[in-house]
């Protein structure tokens, strides 16, 4: 009662909107986290970014008038992550960022035993790509987004999604060290 304005930092949606939010947006929490995790290259940072992005999504939900809720949410996640990256660039330049500290996820022990090498290799390769390439790989290969969805999430014109993916994949192939022989020609 004393300071209602400060207390109320997040408006509650009316019950109908709340249901709509829960039905349309909440199923994509993992997608939101996964994108943030790969864009920020750290689980810990992704946790903060995902939280922030979801709060924003909630706040701006009245502006969502149907359509692809996953793309809408991922767009917010992406913007949050880029803001975050910009803000932290200076700090990161000064202190070497330590990936190991944040640790990797824990898949089941069986798969870990077999895949730990593949997993680390891919993880390192993916992290080595610039964010603009990393995001199209994550959206296409991990999230299964269509070109249209990728365009709407990343604001890349739909006509250039294919060529962006092409460059991103080439770079990932090279980072993994299994580029196709033709990659050597690097034709124009």
């Amino acid at each position: 009662m004393s300071n209602p304005v400060q207390e109320k930092d997040l408006d509650v949606l009316d019950s109908q909107e709340q249901v709509r939010f829960e039905t349309l947006v909440l199923p994509h929490l993992d997608a939101a986290f996964n994108l943030a995790r790969w864009l920020l290259r750290s689980r810990a940072d992704a946790e903060d970014a995902a939280q922030e992005a979801l709060l924003r999504a909630y706040r701006f939900f009245h502006g969502f008038h149907g359509g692809d809720a996953r793309a809408w949410l991922l767009q917010i996640v992406r913007n949050t992550c880029y803001t975050w990256l910009d803000k932290n660039r200076r700090v990161k330049d000064m202190t070497e960022f330590n990936e190991e500290v944040h640790g990797l996820p824990s898949p089941s022990p069986e798969t870990l035993a077999i895949a730990s090498n593949d997993r680390d290799r891919l993880s390192e390769a993916l992290k080595s790509l610039p964010p603009r390439y990393r995001e199209v790989i994550v959206l296409r290969e991990l999230e299964g987004c269509s070109y249209k969805e990728i365009a709407s999430i990343t604001s890349i014109p739909i006509g250039t999604v294919m060529s962006t993916l092409s460059r991103a994949r080439r770079q990932l192939q090279m980072a993994l060290g299994n580029a196709a022989p033709k990659e050597a020609t690097h034709g124009v």
Binding site: L55, L142, K182, T185
Partner: protein, 251 residues
């Protein structure tokens, strides 16, 4: 001799993003361009190394809980800090004790029901797996609920609620009859990205029941009862995807 298409079009082809005409053109080009064939192979092997590495990272349960609480999702509220008065503490201890007794009793009395449910769920998962055999998925293939619904007429003695949820990301793909636990049931087939979801429906005399969920051999299932129908949805999608489908059906 660098083929330009090996740099660009091959991606659209690989991702199923070319329209039918361009895809056909590219296929005939593939027959004479070893470079594009190699590029396509390389893309396939890239995708399989990504799949093997399983880089998809899900949100931790703790974070999920925190976010849900922040977003006023019911049933997710974080515990409000109790004031540390003696009264409260005693009350809490008493409540915990009662809960413990009640919990023990529930577990004891529900055990039998649980094992029956597990058996049912495993039958449902079996039916789902059967449906994935080539040619078994749909008897009527249509994305139109007005085609699928009448198809069931006369084949079964109840009318399953057939609805398309393409807009919400669950396109109806068709339906079929199936037999589960010696009873003929309606099965609706939905797509979810690249996954297949089966929703088994049959009439029941039971009261409406809130969804119960579980997983068997990596397949998620969710079961609920509404307006005299029993619903069992099963798939290899995430549990939250199934939850969403359940909510769509219940709206």
């Amino acid at each position: 001799m660098a083929c330009e298409r090996a740099e660009t079009l091959v991606h659209g082809y690989f991702d199923n993003e070319l329209d039918a005409l361009r895809a056909a053109e590219f296929e005939s080009h593939l027959e004479q361009c070893s470079e594009c064939v190699a590029a396509l192979d390389a893309l396939e092997s890239l995708r399989s190394s990504i799949n093997v590495a399983q880089p998809y990272e899900k949100m931790s349960p703790a974070l999920r809980k925190k976010i849900l609480a922040n977003l006023h999702v019911k049933g997710a509220s974080v515990k409000a800090p109790l004031r540390a008065t003696t009264d409260w503490q005693w009350l809490a201890v008493a409540a915990a004790f009662l809960l413990l007794i009640y919990g023990g009793w529930r577990i004891a009395s529900l055990n039998r029901v649980d094992s029956r449910e597990t058996m049912m769920a495993s039958k449902i998962v079996d039916a789902h797996l059967r449906s994935l055999q080539p040619g078994h998925l749909e008897d009527v293939i249509s994305t139109d609920q007005h085609t699928v619904k009448p198809w069931f007429d006369g084949k079964i003695d109840f009318a399953p609620p057939v609805r398309d949820f393409t807009e919400q990301g669950y396109p109806l793909q068709g339906g079929r009859l199936d037999v589960v636990d010696n009873r003929t049931v309606a099965a609706l087939v939905y797509g979810r990205r690249k996954h297949v979801l089966n929703v088994f429906i049959w009439p029941t005399s039971g009261k409406d029941a809130a969804p119960r969920t579980g997983s068997i051999q990596g397949y998620q299932w969710i079961d609920w009862r509404k307006q005299g129908m029993e619903f069992y949805a099963v798939s290899d999608v995430s549990a939250s995807d199934l939850d969403q489908l359940q909510r769509l059906f219940s709206n």
